[in-house]
């Protein structure tokens, strides 16, 4: 059924269709609508999930960890300061190998106090062991929640489904809401191998000596590597069933392109219009959208942009003291590449919710195309000096 819904409500529907069994959450703008809608769904019987109101995001994730460890399909959602507050528990969820799915609405970090989008909140959680999916529209948001459980429950790592504040969370778009019976065929009930069970008592996450700790970390990395295949396979399978295919990255007019723009989230969906406009003017440009940031799609990135003339990365985030984070990682992917390494331009734009319009993207493209090499590691777009 097609409906016009907000990005936040696309998350709620994704959780409903995944038949989540527990929801523990604390409201924060711009995530609140996700939780409001889910509380209505549990109150009116649309969803059988147990809805727990908690006193903080730290408790939200702690509660979610507990219910997931006891074998429930567990869900929560947060944003920005809330994600930062649950940081300790993010490590716990991943280290305990729990297939939790959480939506995070990308909102810039305070101070100065803000509610608008950028990616520094979720990227600060980069090394926690969570998979991270950056969505470009509301349909992908809904689909990625379902896909998140399908993948997480195979690799025993949690998934963070990420959407831009306001540009998706509070923007209404046409979304196909699949029939729950069809979703059931794709996503069977969760059956963990080990869970908290009074008839088979165990201790979980107890003191782990230097003898074995490193092996647990090795196994997490092994699962992250495996997740690349699983995400690709399940994304194709999802495409066969629902007509929308998903991968680690998405290519747009890249094949014969000599200049590639790399972007994520809604900047990438806006960029598509700019690519079309430039193509019409005869310029050989293409777009590589990074959809999955963890596990990082090194091979796909090298395959698409290796040997190109120029690569332009737009980051709606910054690692202070370094550069934009996607830019840094895309460059890193090439260090051991023996082929022709394209010069890379790293632009930072749109921090704290500043608009990244087609005009802004076009100016970035034109600027990089006319230069042989970048004059500095960070190219600030639109900073008023």
């Amino acid at each position: 059924m097609k409906k016009v819904i907000l990005g936040d409500h696309a998350v709620s529907y994704g959780a409903l269709l995944s038949r989540v069994q527990t929801i523990a959450a604390y409201p924060i703008t711009p995530q609140t609508l996700i939780i409001e809608r889910l509380s209505e769904m549990t109150a009116n019987g649309e969803s059988n999930a147990i809805f727990t109101k908690v006193e903080s995001e730290h408790s939200a994730m702690a509660s979610t960890v507990g219910s997931s460890a006891s074998g429930a399909r567990a869900f929560t959602a947060t944003s920005s300061q809330g994600l930062a507050l649950m940081h300790e528990m993010l490590h716990w969820a991943a280290g305990a190998r729990l297939p939790i799915v959480m939506a995070n609405v990308n909102r810039a970090m305070a101070p100065g106090w803000t509610i608008w989008t950028d990616q520094n909140d979720s990227l600060s959680a980069r090394d926690t062991g969570w998979m991270q999916i950056y969505c470009q529209n509301n349909q992908e948001v809904l689909d990625s929640i379902i896909l998140g459980y399908k993948v997480s429950e195979q690799v025993n790592l949690p998934t963070m489904v990420i959407l831009d504040a306001f540009f998706l969370s509070h923007t209404a778009e046409g979304v196909d809401i699949p029939d729950i019976k069809e979703v059931d065929k794709f996503l069977p009930p969760y059956k963990p191998e080990i869970k908290m069970d009074i008839n088979d008592p165990r201790s979980f996450g107890a003191l782990t000596s230097p003898d074995v700790y490193m092996e647990f970390r090795y196994k997490m990395q092994e699962s992250m590597d495996k997740a690349k295949e699983v995400i690709t396979r399940e994304g194709k399978e999802f495409g066969k069933m629902f007509g929308r295919k998903y991968g680690l990255v998405e290519e747009y007019r890249t094949e014969d392109a000599d200049t590639i723009l790399v972007a994520s989230a809604t900047v990438a969906s806006t960029a598509r219009a700019v690519i079309d406009e430039m193509r019409e003017a005869g310029q050989k440009v293409g777009l590589l959208r990074i959809r999955v940031f963890r596990p990082f799609p090194t091979e796909e990135i090298v395959r698409v942009i290796g040997g190109k003339k120029k690569v332009i990365v737009i980051d709606r985030n910054i690692s202070f003291g370094k550069t934009g984070i996607f830019f840094d990682e895309v460059k890193g992917a090439f260090y051991n590449y023996t082929g022709n390494k394209p010069p890379m331009f790293g632009y930072i734009a749109g921090l704290g919710g500043r608009d990244v319009t087609p005009k802004v993207i076009r100016e970035i493209m034109d600027d990089a195309i006319k230069k042989d090499k970048p004059e500095s590691e960070i190219l600030w777009k639109g900073v008023k000096l």
């Binding site: 280290g95 305990a96 190998r97 729990l98 025993n156 191998e193 080990i194 088979d200 008592p201 165990r202 201790s203 979980f204 996450g205 107890a206 782990t208 074995v212 092996e215 647990f216 090795y218 196994k219 997490m220 092994e222 699962s223």
Partner: protein, 99 residues
Amino acid sequence: MKHSKKEIKIKGASDMPEMSASLGSMAHNKTASWRNLKPVIDESKCIKCFICWKFCPDAAIDFTDENTPPKINYDYCKGCGICAHECPVKCIDMVEEER
């Protein structure tokens, strides 16, 4: 993955579970190896008030019945000395462990 009573030897990552869950309950996982001081109850002086039993933070003191002095479970006692400190008749002695 049902646990068994026999000892499990782990060689490396390939025979470990993904999560750090014990392969059995704490009944199989003795945790007293780092005890330096061992509490010893002088049963002839014990007045069976069970204050030690109540205070032990590790639940390492077993209760049998009201007429029997409590028994310290040396598989789990960490030697913190709280029981000896709390005992009203000072009949628990903390003795050095010999290894």
